[in-house]
Structures are given as structure tokens and as C-alpha cells.
């Protein structure tokens, strides 16, 4: 497979995952605010931005709401949902011949739906919009899985999705617990709302309740979102899926240089596989999550060096 094609498929998938994640997190925040009145809006929005890994230009808390709203429709904000979907479509367009027509049509439909919404909506009206992004992205994933050959290209799509998911989840969980520690002991009611918000942001509330009942405790939430082996929005699940995709790519491409990226993906998976929640919580959860993200960045770099932007000399020796 051409490296350029792999690159486009990988990023198409990453951007779509990013759009869906952003939509989910903002949607949950809008719900939370409904239940709480509007006293601390700007502080809350500042936190949403942090949990999405978006830098606030300064300590300008008052600007947070405006910035958060621009995450919906403002195509000039590269973190926005509309920009992510545009990037995803642009990548797909470059490799239109490599994906199924059903995939292209769905992504195109989603793109046009997002564009039609325009930029004028109040965030409060946005919940239908956010819901439609989520559904559109899920539909695309389903179509992808059932209409595309599960070969090398599909594995790059998987790798993109789960790498993005691992990174955005660890940012989200990290921001939540950072807040939790800093504000000391929040009211029980508030802590409960926040915790449920976090779970919902990961579509994990129902799955959590099945595992632990509706009794929400920080440690259990952390255990569920970080270490659950089979919940698709847990870090451990995502890292395992990433490693699987990378091993399959190595097999399909038959490159002799794949050992390095496979080792890194394996180490990331092992970091999550063999961890225990008491050790993580007893030590430094944020540091642990930072380490996960650092390893993700390494996997990404190694993936590119192996398959996509490798130096000519390295490939000639092989």
C-alpha cells in the first residue's frame, strides 16, 4: 500500500474520532450546566477546554465560553468539530478509490450536514447537532467495518481511531482528577454530578453501573475508565486494540523494520495490562496518564518512521 494512502486513512480516522469525542464531552457539559444553573459557567468551560487538551490563550477565564462555543462550528478553530470533520473528509477525498463508496457517501453526508448548520447557534441549541455528530460517526464506523476489506488500510483506520482514543481519554480522565484534587472536598452533590458527567463523556455510565452499581466512587471510576479490559472506551481496551492493529499492519506490510513500533505499542499495552488501580491512585495518577500520552506519541512517531515518512536510506538497506 502506498504510504500516502496509509497516512490519509490514518488521519481520516483520527479526526473523526476526535470530532466524536469533542461532541460527546461538550454535550455532557451542556447537560451538567442545565442541572446546576449558570453561576460558574466560565470556570466550567475553562475545565472543558482543559479536558479536551485545548490551551486557553491566557488565564482569561471570561474568554472560555466563547472559545468553547467556537469548538462547535468555527472552522477556523482547528480543534473544532466542524474543522475535524472537514479534515477527515479531505483525507478521505484523497483516497476515495481506496475506501468503499458507502464510506465516502456517509462521510460526505456528515460533512454537508455539519456545514449546513452554520455558525450562529447558541451552544444551548447545539444538543441535537452534537447528537447527530455522534450518530454520524458511529454510522461511519459501522459502515467501515462492514463494507471495507479488513486488510492493511482498515488496520490503519483502526490504529488511528484507537491511538486518538487513548490520547483523548487520558487527557479527559487526567483533567477530571486534577480538578478533583485541587478543589479539595467538593460538596457530595457536586462530586456526584461531576463523576457521572465523566462517565457519560465516555459513554460509560451504563456499563459502569452494570459492573459496580450506581454507587459512584472516584477510585472505581478510575479503575473502570483506565483498566477495564473489555469496555471499548477504556484506556486499556484502546491500547490493546491499537497494538492489535499495529501487529496486523506489520504482518500485512511484511516490513522487516516493524519491530520497533510493535515493541512500543506492546509496552503501552503492558503499562495498562499489568497496572493495579491502588498503585496508580496511591501514587501519581496524573503522572501515570502523562506517561501513557508520552508513549502514545512515541507509537505515533515510530509508526510514521516505519511505514510513512521513513528516510530513503533506511528503506534501501532493508
Amino acid at each position: 500500500m502506498l504510504s500516502r494512502v496509509a497516512d490519509s486513512l490514518f488521519w481520516m480516522s483520527r479526526y473523526l474520532e476526535r470530532a466524536e469525542h469533542t461532541a460527546r464531552v461538550i454535550n455532557i457539559q451542556l447537560n451538567l450546566m442545565l442541572e446546576r444553573g449558570s453561576k460558574s459557567d466560565d470556570l466550567d468551560w475553562a475545565r472543558v477546554l482543559r479536558s479536551l487538551g485545548v490551551e486557553l490563550p491566557s488565564e482569561d477565564v471570561a474568554g472560555a465560553q466563547v472559545l468553547a462555543q467556537s469548538l462547535l462550528h468555527d472552522a477556523s478553530n482547528q480543534h473544532s468539530i466542524v474543522a475535524s470533520i472537514e479534515f477527515a473528509r479531505e483525507n478521505a477525498r484523497q483516497v476515495r478509490e481506496q475506501i468503499s463508496s458507502e464510506m465516502w457517501e456517509q462521510l460526505n453526508r456528515l460533512f454537508h450536514a455539519v456545514r449546513r448548520r452554520g455558525g450562529s447557534q447558541e451552544a444551548w441549541d447545539a444538543r441535537d447537532f452534537l447528537q447527530s455528530i455522534k450518530e454520524g460517526a458511529h454510522l461511519f464506523q459501522g459502515i467501515t467495518d462492514s463494507t471495507m476489506t479488513h486488510g492493511e488500510g482498515w488496520q490503519f483506520i483502526q490504529a488511528g481511531r484507537f491511538l486518538e482514543r487513548t490520547m483523548s481519554l487520558s487527557t479527559l480522565v487526567g483533567a477530571h482528577f486534577h480538578e478533583f484534587h485541587q478543589t479539595g472536598q467538593p460538596s457530595a452533590e457536586r462530586a456526584y454530578l461531576e463523576s457521572i458527567g465523566l462517565l457519560r463523556s465516555c459513554t460509560a455510565f451504563e456499563a459502569y453501573c452494570k459492573a459496580y452499581t450506581a454507587d459512584v466512587k472516584p477510585q472505581r471510576i478510575a479503575e473502570f475508565l483506565v483498566l477495564h479490559p473489555s469496555f471499548p472506551h477504556s484506556l486499556r481496551f484502546s491500547a490493546e486494540a491499537l497494538e492489535t492493529a499495529i501487529k496486523d499492519i506489520g504482518r500485512e506490510a511484511g516490513s522487516r523494520r516493524s519491530a520497533r513500533v510493535e515493541r512500543m505499542a506492546g509496552r503501552l499495552r503492558a503499562t495498562l495490562d499489568f497496572a493495579h488501580i491502588d498503585e496508580i491512585m496511591g501514587g501519581n495518577l496524573e503522572g501515570y496518564l502523562d506517561e501513557i500520552r508520552r508513549q502514545c506519541a512515541q507509537v505515533h512517531g515510530a509508526l510514521y518512521q516505519t511505514y510513512i515518512s521513513y528516510p530513503i536510506e533506511a528503506a534501501l538497506e532493508a
Partner: protein, 491 residues
């Protein structure tokens, strides 16, 4: 008078079928249907207009769903249009085709000899058959190609020659497209659609196959594999180099690559190392032997040609000159389809082959010649004026359909740069039946067969018939309101 008398002489759906002094493909001078159109004529008479309309819709939808589009330049960005395809086939007899085939084979053979000569000894220039100035002032002449041995002397590997039919019924060559001619995919796709729409008619008529085109193109490209290819007995790697998704012919590039089973690459997928060309794949670099390039000479290598090109591959030209990769078509072939050089093609054929041309040229006036220029500028409304290096119907004036202001503008342009223009008399292209607005009506058509030149010359029977869908229009280019039709050569 005769035309009026013949009007309404045909039954529906032909009630609007008027004849004039152009050659009609279906009906002869006496108003009788030509024998090779008989099956089609009867089949159309038996179908209701609703049924014909339904089939037209099926055809349109089929083109739409396959995403068969082209991009119109110079308008709003990204104006992708569906390629209009007319429902009715244009039909040629075996004898008509045999003559065309002989003429095209002769022409491409002579043009390839001409290109080799121009880029080597230049005998034809020394003998004064073609004036030296015309060659050296041609903007598609590539100095860099001088003295370079092109693999198997196949300069033009793929040609798409435009033929038109004179009122006398004789086919003549209007243009040789020797650089990166397009449209073969439309020919193949419209044939697929026609077979589905008129299966019974197709069988009755006995239409010669064209489906082997992709296979023949692949064999032709394979014949160009460099001699010293280190890949030994294994299959050569052939790629199709496209400018990318924004190019007007991207559909065709993707289509042909898929049909041939070769990789569709962009410039950024290729790298040159030690004068060898590689493509970047996830499995590492893979050596490339033959490039079917659909990028113009100017953009192919920023180091050798236009430095601002981001479509090409730096170093590709050196690898090519080193003989490590072949390109189809070779660089510099544009010198032979310059419209001023075109005027000399009959002489070129006589010079190299010592034969008379089978297919004639259209009478052509060189604006660089003072006498010819004065003659044409005095009667601009009778002539078609064309810029010599343009294609696709851009940069031309059609005298009879022009305004006084347009003629003044062209007169100024011609006087400012005479070498850049030629003029030809306005020719009534022949007309073929088309299904438009619920009735069969005649429209002007041309014919573009595709000629492949490798170890041998291959021409699939037929080609792309382009049609000017606007009533009375003589311009068949897709960018200017033209469409296409399937072309049937009978067995």
C-alpha cells in the same frame, strides 16, 4: 429547399430530424436511411418516447453513481460536472473503419519517426521539408530531449487523434493529441452502459469489441520496461502518475489504474535516489520501471522544468535520461501536435514513409506567413482561428459565430504573435442522431480514436465520439457544452 422538403418526411421519433448540407451519418442525400443504421432506426421507431426517456435516465444515473465527472476550469472552484452522454450510438461500417485504422497507423508511425529525427539529426529540417524556426519556436519543444534515446523509439505511446467528417463523407484529421490525451475511460464506460441499455440491438448489429483497451494499454506500457531493469524476470512495476484529485481527469486516472491493476500515484509518492525511481509504500521503497504519466511536461520535474511545480518528482528527468525509468508519453512530444507543425504532417508522412497520407488534413493557414495571414484576416468571419499550443477548445475563435468585438480582439492577438496562431476554414462537421428533448435530432460530431504504440500499433475499433449538444454548435469539447456517444464499428 430540398432540406425543407425532406423535413417531416420521417416518422416519430424522427419528426424533428432536419437535414442540411452537412454529412449525415444516418441518412443519405436522398433521405434514405443508410444500411448500417437500419437496425438502430427500426429499433428507435419501435420504442415509445417514454421508453427512450426511461433508458436515458438509467444511463444518466449510471454515470452519476459511478462519479463520472470532469472539472471545468476557470469557473467557481470545484465545479464538477457529470459528463453528458447521449443515448444513441454512432455507427461506422467495417470499411470506413479499416480506412481510418490504416490512416492512423500511418500517421503515428510517421510522427514517431519525425520526433526521433527532430531530437537527433534533424534531417527533415536540413532538407527544408519542415522549417527549422517552427520547431525551435514551439513552446513544447524540449531541448533537454536532444540526443536522448527513447525506449523503442516510442515517443508517442498513447495518441488521441481527432477526426472529423467532411460534407463529402471523407474523414480528415483535425488535431493530433500527442501529449496526455484523455477520454478513453468515457469510451469504456459508455460502452458498458450501452450494452446494458440496448442488448438486443447490440447483438443484431454485431459490434466490434473495445473492452481489450486496458489490457492493450498495459501491454504497451510493459513493452517500454527499461532494458537494464534490475528486476530481472519478475514483473515490471508500472504506475499511473496523476496530478491528484483536483485534476479534471482524475476520474479517468483512477479508472484506468484500477482497470490495469496498477498503482495510482502522485508526485509525492515517488522519490528518486541514485537516478532510480521508487514509490513509497508501507512495505518500503519499491522500484518503478514505467510511468504512465498524466502530468504535462512542464510539471513533471521541478529540477528540470518549471521550478514552481509541486506535482512532479525532483530528479525524475535525470532518472529518465539515465534510462532507469520509462515514461509514456515521452517528454517533448508536444512539438509534433503544435498546430503549426500539424500543417506539415502530410509532408512528414511522405518524407519518412514515401507514401501518400491515407487521411488528409484540414486546410490550414499559418499566421506566421504574411500572405496567408493577410488572406485570413481579411475574412475572419469565415475562419476558425486557434492558438497553436492550446487544447480542449480553449483559446479559439469560431468566425461565423463570433461578434465583431471578438474578431477585433483576435486580429490584435494574431498580429501581436503570428507564430502562435493558425486558421482553418469553418467545417461543417458531420451530424449524427441524438436523443434530445424526447425526439431524435441531428447534432454535429467528431471522432477520437485512441492509438497505442509500443511493440506494435494497437487501435481499438471506434473511440470516443464527441457531440456538440447545442443545436447548430460545432464545438464538441466537454468544457464547452459537448458530450459523448458510444461508437460502434460493425463487424
Amino acid at each position: 429547399m430540398a432540406a425543407i422538403a425532406r423535413k417531416h418526411s420521417l416518422p416519430a421519433p424522427f419528426h424533428e430530424y432536419e437535414l442540411d448540407d452537412a454529412f449525415d451519418e444516418m441518412v443519405d442525400r436522398t433521405g434514405a436511411v443508410r444500411p448500417h443504421y437500419r437496425h438502430l432506426y427500426e429499433a428507435l421507431g419501435a420504442l415509445s418516447p417514454d421508453e427512450l426517456r426511461r433508458r436515458q435516465q438509467v444511463a444518466d444515473l449510471s454515470f452519476l453513481h459511478q462519479g463520472i465527472t470532469f472539472t471545468v476550469y476557470g469557473r467557481e472552484e470545484g465545479t464538477e460536472k457529470i459528463f453528458p452522454n447521449d443515448l444513441l450510438p454512432r455507427i461506422l461500417t467495417r470499411d470506413e473503419w479499416a480506412r481510418i485504422e490504416r490512416g492512423l497507423e500511418q500517421r503515428i508511425t510517421a510522427l514517431n519517426l519525425f520526433l526521433k529525427d527532430v531530437y537527433h539529426e534533424g534531417k527533415i529540417l536540413n532538407d527544408g521539408v519542415v522549417p527549422r524556426e517552427i520547431i525551435y519556436s514551439c513552446k513544447h519543444f524540449r531541448r533537454q530531449m536532444r540526443g536522448f534515446h527513447v525506449r523503442k523509439d516510442a515517443y508517442v505511446t498513447v495518441a488521441g487523434t481527432d477526426l472529423i467528417r467532411m460534407p463529402s463523407g471523407e474523414f480528415v484529421v483535425l488535431e493530433d493529441n500527442l501529449r496526455v490525451p484523455s477520454g478513453a475511460s468515457y469510451m469504456l464506460v459508455s460502452r458498458e452502459v450501452m450494452k446494458r441499455l440496448f442488448p438486443e440491438l447490440f447483438r443484431q448489429c454485431g459490434v466490434q469489441m473495445i473492452e481489450q483497451y486496458s489490457q492493450a494499454l498495459l501491454s504497451t506500457l510493459r513493452a517500454l520496461t527499461p532494458q537494464g531493469s534490475a528486476q530481472g524476470s519478475s514483473e515490471p512495476t508500472i504506475v499511473l502518475l496523476t496530478p491528484g484529485v483536483f485534476n479534471s481527469a482524475y476520474f479517468e486516472h483512477a479508472f484506468l489504474a484500477r482497470q490495469m491493476g496498477i498503482e495510482l500515484v502522485e508526485g509525492r509518492d515517488l522519490v528518486v535516489h541514485d537516478n532510480f525511481v521508487y514509490m513509497r509504500t508501507t512495505a518500503g521503497l519499491r522500484r518503478v520501471d514505467v510511468i504512465y504519466r498524466r502530468i504535462d511536461d512542464d510539471f513533471i520535474d521541478p529540477l528540470a522544468f518549471r521550478p514552481d511545480s509541486s506535482l512532479g518528482v525532483p530528479g525524475l528527468f535525470n532518472a529518465y535520461r539515465a534510462g532507469n525509468v520509462s515514461m509514456a508519453n515521452a517528454l517533448g512530444t508536444g512539438v509534433a501536435d503544435d498546430k503549426a507543425v500539424y500543417a506539415y504532417v502530410p509532408a512528414i508522412i511522405r518524407y519518412y514513409l514515401n507514401e501518400d497520407p491515407v487521411l488528409d488534413n484540414v486546410e490550414t493557414f499559418l499566421m506566421s506567413d504574411a500572405t496567408q495571414r493577410a488572406h485570413v484576416l481579411g475574412r475572419l468571419q469565415e475562419y476558425v482561428v486557434k492558438a497553436v499550443g492550446e487544447s480542449g477548445g480553449y483559446g479559439m475563435l469560431i468566425g461565423p459565430h463570433s461578434t465583431a468585438a471578438q474578431r477585433d480582439e483576435f486580429r490584435r492577438r494574431v498580429e501581436a504573435d503570428p507564430r502562435n496562431y493558425i486558421a482553418q476554414p469553418t467545417i461543417r462537421l458531420s451530424r449524427a442522431p441524438c436523443f434530445l428533448d424526447g425526439a431524435v435530432q441531428p447534432r454535429h460530431v467528431d471522432l477520437r480514436p485512441y492509438i497505442l504504440f509500443g511493440d506494435k500499433v494497437t487501435i481499438v475499433p471506434g473511440g470516443l465520439t464527441r457531440v456538440a449538444l447545442k443545436k447548430g454548435s460545432l464545438v464538441v469539447n466537454s468544457s464547452q457544452g459537448g458530450g459523448s456517444k458510444d461508437t460502434w464499428v460493425l463487424d
